[in-house]
Symmetry: C2
Subunit: 380 residues, 2 copies
Amino acid sequence: MQYDLISVDDHVIEPPHVWSDRLPAKFQEAGPHVVESEDREFWVYEGRKGTTMGLNAVAGKERKEFSMDPVRYSDMIRGCWDPVQRARDLVSDGVRGSLCFPTFPRFAGVQFLKGDDKELSDLCVKAYNDWMLEEWCASVPGMYIPMIIGQLWDPQLMAAEIRRCSALGARALTFPENPVPIGLPSLSTDYWNPVWEAVTETDTVVCTHIGTSGVVPSPSEDAPFIVGIALSPMASWSTCLDLIMGNIPRHYPTIKFALSEGGIGWVPFALERADRSWERHRLWSGVDDTLPSEVFKRNVSVCFIGESMGIEARYHIGVDRIMWECDYPHADTPWPDSQKEVAESLEGVPDDEVAMITHGNAERLFRWTTRPDVDALLAT
Amino acid sequence: MQYDLISVDDHVIEPPHVWSDRLPAKFQEAGPHVVESEDREFWVYEGRKGTTMGLNAVAGKERKEFSMDPVRYSDMIRGCWDPVQRARDLVSDGVRGSLCFPTFPRFAGVQFLKGDDKELSDLCVKAYNDWMLEEWCASVPGMYIPMIIGQLWDPQLMAAEIRRCSALGARALTFPENPVPIGLPSLSTDYWNPVWEAVTETDTVVCTHIGTSGVVPSPSEDAPFIVGIALSPMASWSTCLDLIMGNIPRHYPTIKFALSEGGIGWVPFALERADRSWERHRLWSGVDDTLPSEVFKRNVSVCFIGESMGIEARYHIGVDRIMWECDYPHADTPWPDSQKEVAESLEGVPDDEVAMITHGNAERLFRWTTRPDVDALLAT
């Protein structure tokens, strides 16, 4: 393997037992569980059927089959929901570390924010986090960087959960890229301060995945759907400026944010433009004098998949800010050809920078010093 | 002067007589006119007071005064509303060509779309266009590239106006970057086909200025306002993909679009990402096989102000696609230091490329072969 890869954006497909194994008897019926109905499988939660089973879990399929979302576990390759098989899949492609976002809870846990019974919601959040730590990650030591979800309706509860899980090994929190469209206070309020205090205290990375605001940046409902796919990094641009021109990293100077699945090619211009706006308007808008690009280079990391423009302009981003993502098992994944795609993106990049981008920056950001036993995985 | 500049994005402040000089007697009261009231001046149209007089017309002021929109002509420098004085201002800064967007009609003429009496709206559109051609542009031959507005509520009427004005010398049409938020059919419909046919037939450039959809890309209402300023180029990214992944330039292969005040630094990544999305999804989405980046390089032009990232990556955009803008008299303008700011942006660029970027591309796109008598302007 030419490249020693850690992916900072993959997606679990939760197996059916995640919540039913952990919820008390009184919540077995209301809590998330899988039923067979209408010739397919469904998640059912508080009596409502979910709309997707294996959202975009198309890895291993031909591209012409990409339009169909799998609606049964048996429609997906085993690596979607089995952490050991996934680890085999990934290490055979040179990927020896992986940070996984949730699917049924939605990428930032918004599913449980929407729950009617907040006692159940709280237990569902904790059940997911326990499963992530005790089963998904523990099943292949050294492979999966533990990421948790939080109780978005109660920042104090969320802060306590961050501290609880950090003590158990959690390294990352998934958080909405923009809380406003989902009905929560913005990043310009102090509502979230308990969360920022907890992640700063525990050195937990806050990961904001594209799409977690619930808003898809498309010019119109009838625009070709690929326009929305191609525009999706705009969401990270917006989050980035909300952070680096706003108050959070200025008040919590050691806080760590990672913009997930947002790409990197927009960053040089975004920073240049942010600095220019800052420079031209700060005199009358009363903001402080730390340049947005300086905040970025201290507090924000980004990741790429199959792109070369941002790599070419990497010195304007900061080589230490750039990580790689595999996006397994979604349609964008290069798996099982990650080595080839990474080689195309990193052509001409010096070895020391390749090491930072492919794994070193992720190791540092997430304090991830372990590796899976690759030989044992490949032997089974 | 080191650089021979044409600006493809400036803004007129209409003098008070534009409509009252041209509307018939029965519309004098309902048509746009200026009144003194509440210790300031207002535009009044169909009995409603406008909210701004000289929107952002702050050229010539200190930056710390930028927050106040001028509310009287006498609060603005004369070049805001006097084309001869403006030409003196610009040529003394090395800018010998200028494309001006409207202010009271709003940048894409949406003011008259909102009018109650469409007979009056139609006359207001024609009055603006006649004033632009007969007064603003004619007062300094060779200086101003004539841009017109259209009857957005009636594409057939708009097509006729494009043909009428083209015969009188118009070279450009201002058009909303996205018609959907202002209540009009999207760029994915065939509603606008009469317009595309007229602009193609007359070789009129369609200019989509940021902000003309009425949507400001800000993460939240309480985000620092400079976040919205810094994010404003996202609107052009969205328009760009709507065009190059959509049908219009594929059906009208000679059509010319210019993305106005949208910057250029986002373009390399936007094209790379669009091509990747196209490549990965076209097999099952039934679209044709012309890459979005090829459509861009045939049908779309962009412009920059005070940025260097896009210039550094210019070969990924196409040197023939890049123009410069002065944004006179808005807060972003480098005037009266355009030469200095352009020098910073174009440092290290070869002379032949500088000639294309500073004026050659604009001359070709807008078929603009004349120049003002600079010596005569500076002598007065």
